[in-house]
């Protein structure tokens, strides 16, 4: 739309407005305008509200700091062990089917029976171990301690069962692994609103237990005895992307979930005694912390043992990622491995000195192919193995090939020799300046080798003699000094230092006689003066330490020490850098191509940028403290990961890392473990950390579980699951008074925490535990977890006290002093209580003073007021309670039916024997009979009465001898009056009689009515009972049938 030219704006050329504008324009031209807005209008840019701004800044900083977590060293292994996925749920809810479906999904293999852990390769870098948790409480506890992910199965048709909640509680006490719910039997529900409602209610109940939004899976239909493929695929996807928490207990303790058990006992011993202690090989991946070979372990359900040997085996189920054979993301057929020796599936099984090939459970047409392909995959390891073992292949189940010629120690020795040679080579390369030294080195080498191979000691004794002769010829001057130097040199020079310090056979190596002699006769003194005589007057010697001082030369580098530091830190990196330098230097002398110059320029730029970045971080970033902390932790993480990475004897320093497949040999296993072994039950080997092998008293904060129907009695035995261990113990419950006194409680409070002190193996403070009533798997309808708690502290003695009142009676009373008896029995006892507070029942306070000689136990006491001879005096004191030193590990895996019954409670014993609770007659409450106090009449003597004024004289009236008129007189009534009275009496009598008859009749009728009513209700009740019976029969799940 065009603007009408007629109506367009006309600028004023004259008039008031024109003048005004003109004036303003002139003004502006005269005064120079500040172009900077901040200067022109400073108020607009200053803080409008100081407090508000401060608050905003504060809040922003708060938010920033809140994001920080205390940085912790990341200990996740480079190649983690398989994720342990435990399938938990009540019987008949589809656990086995789920595992079979998942295994089928991953490996395309059918597993007929699910026994023991099944390990499956699920991705390029990921493996999963599936385990079906049996339903007894002991297994549930063990599984909760080791599982990374728990698939909690719920029969939707039935709803939640007690086992689910029990397991959730157990898991919570042991660190709470990831939990995913799986609803099954959904096809039994009617499709539609009812189904949705059930799903919703179950979901919300699950959420309240785990956390809001916890994943709950629905497995709807079944086909060919497996779950729907699509559902399983989804579940598998969820499992594969699951991330796991680092749980403190597991990060600090090594553990092995055993997937294979071998009896390694000498057959001869077995022949002699079938019940002899067995040597058992337990196989599995190391999880958690590093496992060292000579540590003590707790085998859950078996007991404490010391590892006799750990040996590294080839991973039976390696993730294909490291091979980089194919670039595809999906796994090919060969890579989809399944390993479950207990279930009898999986291909090759390596042992320390044998190889098993299992040929059952394989499809016949693929059998040969598979074997060959797997052998082809393992060529490297096989080559190694071939050097030391013989292989023979047994068709059928398994065959063991023993190789007695090669023992463990010798094989290790072979590696050692190689290393020695290598090191020798290095020495040759490095130190060519002095021939003699080389000679000496070689001699050392020879000797060392000799000692290692355990040759006869004669050569070794000879050689040092030669050495001495040479030495004597050369070093005649300044012998003491040189001897000292050489002693130190020898020590430093020693690449065999390790064997000198840790080796057993050091005494046989003659070269180190000086050192060894000295170490043998160690003086209990930390100081060591290197030599008595020193030549510090010698200027040459003084010069040798010049550069240790700041006044000395600093060397070519800016910081010489730092160079060394780097050298040690990352050898490989440093080596590379050095290489670069070497490469570069010749190039620079020749010519520099423009490309090189460019790259050089870029490098320089990068360096500058780094410099700037660090500078900026230091000055600019407010959270420098946090950044420093983070950097420190990161560098530690890097050091931990890399430091021993290229070490030949890595296991020696570190132990076996998580993710390695090992065989743990334990020598003194009870034979019952093998004889009654059942692969369905979890077998966990848990490493015991420092001090945890010790026994002591644990002070814990405990709370009775709200779903357990009873309160717990003091000193009644309970089974505690703490750390790896499950054991029965007798806790003493107590509560802390305000003055920190631990007062014993007879029963746990109903809804409150209390302290429980019990005897058992130690666990670090802050460890949580749960307690159950027993380990037997009795059919109980009630909740099996009785209490939960946390360890507060450990000690050898803990003072728990109970109140004791001692009573005594006075036998002589002075003014404020009284002699008391009956409280103590001897003078010694009294002297223990001198100065103690005592009190009468009426509240007069006093103190025990001194013992009296006369009746034993009598003493003098003083009170704040005079007491009476009838008073009872009591002394309130506290007696410490003995904490019963009772501890029994639960060894359920050593029994035939895998149940274990320990000490029973008194109540259980009474119930069993049908005994009643004994009643102490003394403790019964009786009616208190108080005699009425009869006071003597007040007698005032006659002489006194005479002198008293009338007002105070007793005015006692004597009994009258004569009767008064009122009592004496006779009443005579008129005849009319008499008749009237009689009539009234008759009428009243008649009325009463008729009322009585009426009442009787009414009662009779009522009784009749009530009897009829009772009959009707009885009939109704019977019918209702019958109806209920039918209903429960129809709806209730028959567990027994289900378990069969």
């Amino acid at each position: 739309m065009d603007i009408d030219p007629q109506r367009s704006h006309k600028k004023r050329k004259a008039g008031a407005k024109f003048n005004k504008k003109k004036r303003r324009k002139l003004d502006e031209e005269e005064t120079p305008v500040d172009t900077d807005a901040k200067k022109r209008n400073p108020k607009a840019f200053s803080f409008q509200a100081v407090n508000k701004t401060a608050r905003i800044v504060h809040r922003a900083l708060d938010k920033q700091t809140k994001k920080h977590h205390v940085p912790e060293v990341d200990r996740t292994p480079v190649e983690p062990p398989p994720t342990l996925v435990a399938v938990v749920g009540p019987p008949k809810c589809g656990k086995t089917t789920l595992i079979r479906s998942l295994v089928k999904h991953y490996t395309k293999q059918n597993v007929n029976q699910v026994k023991g852990p099944l390990t499956v390769v699920t991705g390029k870098n990921r493996r999963c171990t599936f385990f079906e948790c049996p339903n007894d409480i002991s297994s549930m506890i063990d599984v909760a301690k080791v599982a990374d992910l728990v698939l909690l199965m719920v029969d939707a048709n039935f709803g939640f069962e007690m086992e689910i909640f029990e397991f959730l509680n157990i898991a919570q006490a042991h660190g709470l692994p990831r939990i995913m719910g799986v609803l099954t039997h959904l096809d039994m529900l009617k499709v539609g609103k009812a189904m949705n409602r059930t799903k919703r209610t179950l979901k919300h109940r699950f959420w309240t237990e785990v956390h809001n939004g916890a994943k709950l899976f629905y497995l709807s239909s079944m086909s060919f005895d497996l779950y729907n493929k699509r559902d399983i695929l989804n579940l598998a996807r969820f499992i594969s992307v699951m991330k796991f928490k680092v749980l403190t207990w597991r990060a600090t303790h090594p553990y092995v979930v055993v997937d294979r058990v071998e009896d390694l006992t000498d057959p001869e011993l077995l022949d002699k005694n079938k019940k002899c202690d067995r040597t058992v090989g337990l196989y599995g991946w190391v999880r958690g912390a590093n496992l060292k070979s000579d540590t003590s372990v707790h085998v859950c359900g078996v007991g404490d043992h010391v590892i006799s040997d750990v040996s590294l085996l080839t991973d039976p189920c390696p993730p294909p990622g490291k091979e980089k054979s194919s670039r595809r993301r999906t796994l090919n057929e060969k890579e989809r491995l399944l390993y479950g020796p207990m279930a009898g599936v999986g291909g090759l099984i390596y042992d320390k000195d044998a190889i098993y090939i299992q040929t059952t459970d394989r499809q016949k047409k693929n059998e040969g192919d598979d074997l060959i392909s797997e052998l082809a995959q393992q060529t490297e390891t096989l080559d190694e193995k071939l050097g030391t073992t013989e292989i023979s292949i047994f068709s059928g189940s398994t065959g063991r090939i023993k190789n007695d010629d090669f023992s463990d120690g010798e094989r290790r020795k072979m590696i050692f020799d190689n290393e020695d040679e290598e090191e020798g080579d290095e020495d040759d390369d490095s130190g060519e300046d002095n021939d003699e030294e080389d000679l000496e080195d070689e001699m050392n080498d020879e000797e060392y080798d000799g000692s290692d191979v355990d040759q006869s000691g004669e050569d070794e004794e000879e050689e040092p003699d030669d050495d001495m002769v040479v030495g004597a010829a050369r070093w005649k001057k300044n012998i003491a000094n040189k001897a000292k130097e050489s002693f130190i040199q020898r020590q430093l020079n020693a690449k065999n230092l390790h064997s000198i310090i840790y080796g057993e056979e050091t005494d046989s190596s003659g070269q180190f006689t000086g050192l060894v002699a000295e170490t043998r006769t160690t003086v209990d003194c930390t100081r060591h003066v290197w030599a008595g005589e020193s030549g510090w007057e010698d200027p040459g010697r003084r010069d040798s330490i010049r550069d240790c001082f700041v006044t000395g030369e600093w060397g070519g580098d800016e910081d010489e020490g730092f160079g060394e530091f780097e050298d040690l830190e990352a050898e490989s990196e440093d080596g590379e850098e050095n290489d670069d330098v070497e490469e570069e230097t010749p190039q620079t002398t020749e010519e520099t191509t423009p490309e090189e110059e460019k790259s050089k320029y870029e490098k320089k730029k990068e360096k500058l940028k780094k410099l700037f970045d660090t500078d900026y971080d230091e000055n600019g970033d407010e959270s420098k403290y946090f950044a420093d902390l983070q950097e420190e932790v990161d560098s530690q993480t890097r050091t931990n990961k890399e430091f021993f990475a290229d070490e030949a004897h890595r296991e020696r320093y570190e132990g076996y890392r998580a993710g390695q497949y090992v065989r743990v040999t334990i020598a003194d296993m009870p034979c019952e473990l093998i004889e009654t072994f059942d692969p369905h039950y979890p077998l966990v080997v848990g490493g015991v950390a420092n001090l945890e092998h010790q026994m002591g008293l644990l002070q814990t904060r405990t709370k009775r579980h709200r779903w357990y129907p009873k309160i717990l009695k003091n000193q009644d035995p309970i089974v505690v699951s703490l750390g790896w261990r499950r054991f029965q113990t007798r806790p003493v419950y107590s509560i802390q008074d305000h003055n920190m006194r631990q007062r014993m409680l007879k029963y746990t409070p109903e809804h409150m925490h209390c302290h429980a002190t019990f005897y058992g193996p130690l666990a670090p403070p802050n460890t949580t535990f749960i307690a159950t009533q027993g380990a037997t798997d009795k059919k109980t309808s009630s909740f099996r977890i009785v209490a939960t708690g946390v360890v507060l502290g450990l000690d050898k003695t803990i003072d728990v006290v109970k109140k004791l009142k001692l009573t005594g009676t006075p036998y002589k009373i002075f003014k404020n002093t009284a002699f008391l008896k009956g409280m103590f029995s001897s003078i010694l006892e009294v002297s223990k209580f001198e100065g103690a507070m005592i009190k009468t029942v009426s509240g007069i306070r006093g103190q025990v003073k001194r013992a009296l000689s006369a009746p034993p136990g009598a003493f003098r006491a003083s009170f704040e007021d005079k007491i009476q001879i009838s008073d009872i005096v009591f002394l309130r004191c506290w007696v410490s309670v003995d904490i019963p030193k009772f501890y029994t590990p639960v060894i359920n895996l050593l029994t035939v039916d895998k149940t274990w019954s320990g000490m029973r409670t008194v109540a259980e014993l009474r119930r069993e024997r049908g005994e009643t609770i004994p009643v102490k007659q003394d403790s019964l409450y009786k009616e208190i009979e108080r005699q009425q106090k009869v006071f003597k009449p007040l007698v005032v003597s006659k002489s006194l009465q005479k002198n008293l004024p009338f007002k105070t004289k007793p005015k006692v009236e004597n009994k009258r001898k004569k009767q008064l008129y009122v009592t004496k007189r006779a009443v005579v009534s008129e005849p009319g009056e008499r008749r009237l009275t009689t009539l009234m009496q008759q009428l009243l009598t008649a009325q009463k009689e008729s009322d009585k008859k009426k009442m009787e009749k009414k009662n009779k009728e009522k009784e009749k009515y009530l009897a009829e009513q009772a009959k009707i209700t009885a009939k109704r009740g019977e019918k209702a009972k019958e109806r209920r019976k039918i209903f429960y029969q129809k709806n209730a799940k028959n567990d027994q049938a289900g378990e069969d």
Binding site: T252, Q491, F565, L568, F644, Y653, Q694, V790
Partner: protein
Amino acid sequence: MKGFFIYLHMLSFQGMTKYLKFKGDGEFRQILILSLLSGKPVVIEEIRHLEDELGLTEHEVSLLKLIDELTNGTKTKLNETGTRLVFSPGFIIGGEVTHDCSLAVPLGYYLEVLVCLAAFSKKKFNITLRGVTHGQGHPNVDTLKHVTLSYCKRLGLHSAELTINKRGYAPGGGGEVLFSCNTLKVVKPIKWLDSGKIKRIRGVASCSRMSPATNPRVIDKARGVLNDFIPDVYIYNEHLKGAQSGNSPGNSLTLYTESTTDVTICCDNTATSQTLPEDLALTTTHQLLDAVHAGGCVDSSHQYLVLLYMALTQHNVSSVRLGPLTPFTIAFLRNLKLFFGIVFKIKVDKIDVEEPGNRKGLGSTLVLSCLGVGFENMNRSMT
């Protein structure tokens, strides 16, 4: 005091606890330290069984008594001759303890044990020890105060403190020190690889019940030697009189160097009655130079302490550069393996000594590294 034995009832232990067996008296203190920290009971046999003075000596029994006071549940059993000791450790409790030590050895003997245990106790250590503060054979209290505690602080025990209330020379004693230290939950890993350059030398020359001119003579002589290397040398003059001076006359010199990277190397000596002050100064300075010559980031008399703390970290790698290992340290390394199953990686690091700027004494040092055992102070209560 050979007639003194400790008889205590011994409980039969659980089958899983095994006694570690040792022979001889040379590793007495380190065995007790490691036993207390690891909770493993030990048996020490053949303690001076062939010598005239059979069995445990007075000061060793005194140490056992001190440990008994500091701990709860420790059970000690000696046989009649005192040649066999059964020791089952209890919990380290700490707290306020006063102990009259034996006069046979200086307090350094006891304090070295306390320094190892203090961090891992239930309560704060607040221990008063009475006895000989300066004597032969063991570091004197000045060394402990200035050097050992500086190591402790670098290892994370920031609150460790040693107050010298009275000085007492051998043989009369009469000295008194107060050692206080807070507890730790976990030990931090260390990485001490750079020994730096020595920037100053400090020292304490002390004497009691002697002529006040003794100290200046010692100081003059020591400075004469040390000033050749570095001008920043200062030796404190501690002359004590009256109640603070103990029961016997004596004088001693403690010297320590401080480097640019806080590495402290020390040396101390106490004069015998025949020693001239100049001789004392000369021996001590030469020994200090010897210690500097040996190299490393840790003084030879503190190797054990650093190695212990390295072993007791969480599962973290620590490394330290050391000079030649003393026999005590070698025994300590072996015992660490026995008690904690920890093995140190030992690497020899050579430097070309001839090159200027590298003239650093011996020319090679050892780098010891280990992965901590994941130790945690279990004695500390949660609340």
